[in-house]
């Protein structure tokens, strides 16, 4: 063989070898980057899943605690108050007796305490929400608010009611309680309007509107303070947990409108 073809052959193979090595390094880098990207995505998904699970557990614990408290209030304190009420009513006091007015007043206070305790028990007990349904539970909550006489309440239901899954209904109701709580605590509103809408496409819409002080939603959401915006974050987390969308429109001095949309049969 002549030396020239031999050297050409070696050079060609050398070039191929070089290209192979360069290609190899590039491929490894490309694959590494792709794997890293995939890992990042997996971490985000895992984090999201973990957060959901943590929230779910937290809510479960909360519901169990509420249920236990409600049970205890009803069975223990409620019973004791009833016994005291019976004892008071059985007191052989004539109208002329100097302790009569005092006993009567005590009886009235006791009646109110029993009544309030009953309301609190109903509000806390999640079984009641599933038993009577979300509409009645909300109506009951609003009636309690209305009774204070401080706020005017409007409540309406549109569309044909369809049942909501138990857990989603409980979470939705707790969100509603949080909204009412926020209105009572911060808004100084004079009027609350609550609209429930059961739409034809199996979407449930909850709309809560007040004419109170309003607030800056973005500022509240981005607040780094541990105490500020906790209720709001909790509402967003709960909505995410049940797959609902939540939209809050608010401006300082122009009230607040919260819209929650839930398609209960879609995952």
């Amino acid at each position: 063989m002549h030396q020239n073809p031999e050297i050409y052959f070696i050079i060609i193979i050398g070039v191929i070898l070089g290209l192979l090595l360069v290609g190899f390094i590039v491929s490894i880098l490309f694959l590494y980057q792709r794997r890293q990207h995939r890992q990042e995505q997996e971490i985000i998904l895992m984090k999201d899943k973990y957060e959901r699970e943590a929230l779910r557990s937290q809510l479960e614990i909360q519901e169990n605690t509420f249920r236990t408290i409600a049970q205890e209030l009803h069975d223990n304190i409620g019973q004791m108050l009833s016994v005291v009420k019976l004892t008071l009513s059985a007191l052989p006091l004539e109208k002329e007796h100097k302790a009569y007015d005092l006993a009567k007043h005590s009886q009235e206070v006791l009646n109110k305490a029993i009544y309030d305790l009953s309301d609190l028990t109903k509000s806390l007990h999640s079984d009641r929400i599933t038993d009577v349904g979300i509409i009645e539970s909300m109506r009951f909550e609003l009636a309690s608010v209305k009774k204070t006489g401080l706020i005017e309440v409007q409540f309406s239901v549109n569309g044909e009611e369809f049942p909501l899954p138990e857990q989603k209904a409980i979470v939705l109701f707790r969100m509603f309680q949080e909204m009412l709580n926020n209105i009572l605590k911060h808004s100084r509103a004079r009027q609350i309007t609550v609209r429930l809408s059961y739409q034809d496409d199996d979407t449930f819409v909850l709309e809560v509107e007040d004419n109170g002080a309003g607030f800056n939603v973005t500022e509240k959401q981005q607040s780094v303070s541990s105490s500020r915006g906790v209720g709001l974050k909790s509402m967003f987390n709960r909505a995410q947990l049940i797959g609902a969308t939540i939209n809050i429109n608010s401006e300082a001095g122009k009230g607040t409108k919260i819209l929650v949309k839930l398609s209960p049969y879609q995952d």
Partner: protein, 217 residues
Amino acid sequence: MKLPPYTYVLALSLIASFSVYYKPKDSAFYLKLFPPFLLGTSIVELLGSYLRYIGVYNVSLYNFFTTFEFCFYLLIISLVIINSTAKKIITAIILLYAVTAIVNIFFIQKMQTFHTVTYALGCLLVVGACIYYFLELFRLPKSVKLVNNPAFWICSGLLFFYCCSFPLYGLINYWINIKLIIRNFENIVTILNIFLYSLFTIAFLCIRTRKYTSSSS
């Protein structure tokens, strides 16, 4: 008779390679092929040194041995990789390469000249196969502990050795006339061989370490 320094590392690697027989269930088949191969390599190295010592031109010995070496390494890589199509392709390449090399040694470059053309081709094939192995390893869905993976060490050694030795052996028929280069040639080859056989030794011992750890836990 003076033996090249790397033959001691080769002997060490040969001794280490016998460890793969101690736990036959735990060692992969390809590893069991190494002790006879390394034994053969040692014999060839000794024979080569002896022929050189008595003044006999030993190129033809290395012509055949390097051809066998390429076929052996390609076979090892075909046993290591997972993809069955790639395995078949590599098996076919081994046969084709063996025929090409024999034809080249006997009829084209002749016995008394180092078969640079088929050596360069062999380097390319082994490097290509190693790269394929690494890509396959990298694309595995599960992460692999490379430190305890003998195939990784073997392929790393082969990739490095053949990438570096390619320009040396590929152009040896030209270097032979340049005294300065040929003087350093041996040193470079020694370093490359020491590196290769050291990595082989690590490959044989890394599974032993792993087994020891698991049995003690």
